[in-house]
C-alpha cells in the first residue's frame, strides 16, 4: 500500500481546495452560487471504492479534522465526522463489487449530496445556521455537486490506476508470499 503517496496526494487536494480554488471561481458568481470544493472528499470516496472502507475511514477522519482545525470557526469535528462516516459507508456498499465509471460517479454524487445535507444538518442542529434547506440545496449543494463531479471525472482515470495499481501490487505480493 502506497501510504505516503496517498497521504501526499490528499494533502495536495486539501491545499488546492483552500488556496488555488478561490482564484478559479469567476467573481460574477459571488452571491449567485456559493460553491464549496470538496476535492478531499472525492479522493476519500475513490479510496473507499477502489481500496477499502477502513482506509477511507482513517483518511476521512484525518483530513476532516485537518479542515476543522485550519478553518476553525464554530466547532471542531464537523468535517472529520462527516467525511469519515461517508467514506466508511461508501466503502461498505462496495465491499464485494467491481465498479464501473457510471456506478462510481453516481456514488460520488450521492456521497456529495449526503455530505452537503449532513453539514447543513449538523450546523442547523447546533443553531449555527437557520437558512432554509431549499436555499442551501439550490445555492450551495447542487452547484458544488456539479463542480465536484467534474473534478471527480477529471481524476477518474489516474485515481483508478493509482489505487487499483497499488491493490494489484498487494495481491501480487500476497501471491508470491503464499
Amino acid at each position: 500500500m502506497r501510504y505516503p503517496q496517498t497521504l501526499l496526494i490528499l494533502l495536495l487536494f486539501f491545499l488546492v481546495e483552500g488556496s488555488l480554488f478561490p482564484w478559479l471561481l469567476p467573481s460574477g458568481w459571488s452571491g449567485k452560487a456559493e460553491i464549496s470544493p470538496h476535492f478531499v472528499l472525492i479522493g476519500i470516496i475513490y479510496i473507499a471504492i477502489y481500496r477499502n472502507r477502513h482506509a477511507a475511514l482513517v483518511y476521512g477522519l484525518l483530513f476532516g479534522f485537518l479542515q476543522d482545525l485550519i478553518y476553525y470557526g464554530h466547532m471542531l469535528g464537523v468535517h472529520s465526522f462527516s467525511m469519515g462516516l461517508l467514506g466508511y459507508l461508501v466503502g461498505l456498499s462496495f465491499a464485494r463489487k467491481r465498479s464501473s465509471l457510471l456506478l462510481t460517479l453516481s456514488f460520488t454524487a450521492l456521497a456529495e449530496l449526503a455530505y452537503g445535507i449532513m453539514l447543513y444538518g449538523i450546523y442547523r442542529f447546533f443553531n449555527v445556521t437557520d437558512l432554509p434547506l431549499t436555499w442551501i440545496l439550490l445555492k450551495n449543494i447542487f452547484p458544488s455537486l456539479l463542480l465536484n463531479l467534474l473534478f471527480g471525472l477529471i481524476i477518474y482515470v489516474p485515481a483508478r490506476q493509482f489505487l487499483e495499481g497499488s491493490l494489484r501490487m498487494k495481491q501480487d505480493e500476497e501471491m508470491s508470499v503464499g
Binding site: G18, S27, L69, I70, M75, L92, F126
Partner: protein, 293 residues
Amino acid sequence: MYALFKFMGSKRLFVLLIGVILAVALMGLTLGKREKMTWLEMFASDTVSFAQSLFYKPAGYIAGFFGDIGNLRDIYEENKVLKKRLMDYAKDTARLNALEKQNRELLDALSFTEKQKQENHYVWHVAEAVAVSPDPVYNTTIRINLGSKDGIRENMAVATVDGLIGRIDRVAPFYSTVQLISDILYKDVDFKIDTSKAIAATVKGKDSFGMIESYDNESGYLIMDKIPESDQIAAGDTIITSGLGGVFPAGVVIGTVVSKREGDFGIAYKAYIKPAARFKPGQAIFVIEKPQP
C-alpha cells in the same frame, strides 16, 4: 433495517454509535469560543498555511495574467476613475492637514492628556490572504499571513480599501484566521451573551446609533438593530463603525443603508445594510490595530 444491522454486526454498530456520540460531544464542547490555541494547533495551522501560501501566490499571478488580458478594455475606464480618485485624495489630504492642525491646537487648548490624544492613532498592518475556507456558507473564514509575531491580536478589525470585512478570530505565530462579517455576528448570541460580536455603528455625518447584529445570507445584507425611534437614519446613508463597542476602531466604512423598517418588538428600528466590501482573492487586506489601553 434489520438486515443492515445483521450485516454490520453488533460490534461494529456499537463502535459506530460510540463514534457518533464522541463526534457530537466534540462538536458540542468546542462550539463557541475557546480561550487559547494549543501549541499543536498553532504548529499545524502555521505549517499548513505556509504550504497554502506557496500555492496561493503563483495562482494569483496566473489568474492576474489572464484577468489582465480579459480586462484590457476596462482599464481605460478604470484609469479615468482612478485619476478622479487621486484628485479627491489630494483634496482630502489638504483638508486633513488643516483639520489635523486645528484639532491638535484644540486638544492642546482643552489640555487633553497624552493617552486621550493617542486614542485614535491606529496602526494599519498590510496582510495577504493565503487560503479561503472551502465551506463558504456556514463557516466563512480566510487565513492571512500575519500572526502574533507581527503584533496581531484577537478581535482586531480587518478591512480592505472598500471597507470592513471581518475580525481576527484566532492567532498563531505566523498566520491567523479572519472571520468575515457574513459570519461574525451570526447567532453567537444564542449561546453566550459575552461572545456576541455585534458592531457598534453610526452614520457618517449624523449622530446615529445602532448595533450590527446579524447577516442575512439570503439577501446578502447586514442587519443593523437597536436604532432609536427618533433616529434620522435613511436609505442611502453610509454606515461606519462608531468605536463605541471597544472592539472595532472608529470610522471604518461598513456599507450603505438599503432600507429601514420597524424592529421585532416595535420599539427600535432595523436597517438593512449593503456591505461596502466583499472579500475577493488578490485584494490587499488591512488589519487595524487599536492602541492598547
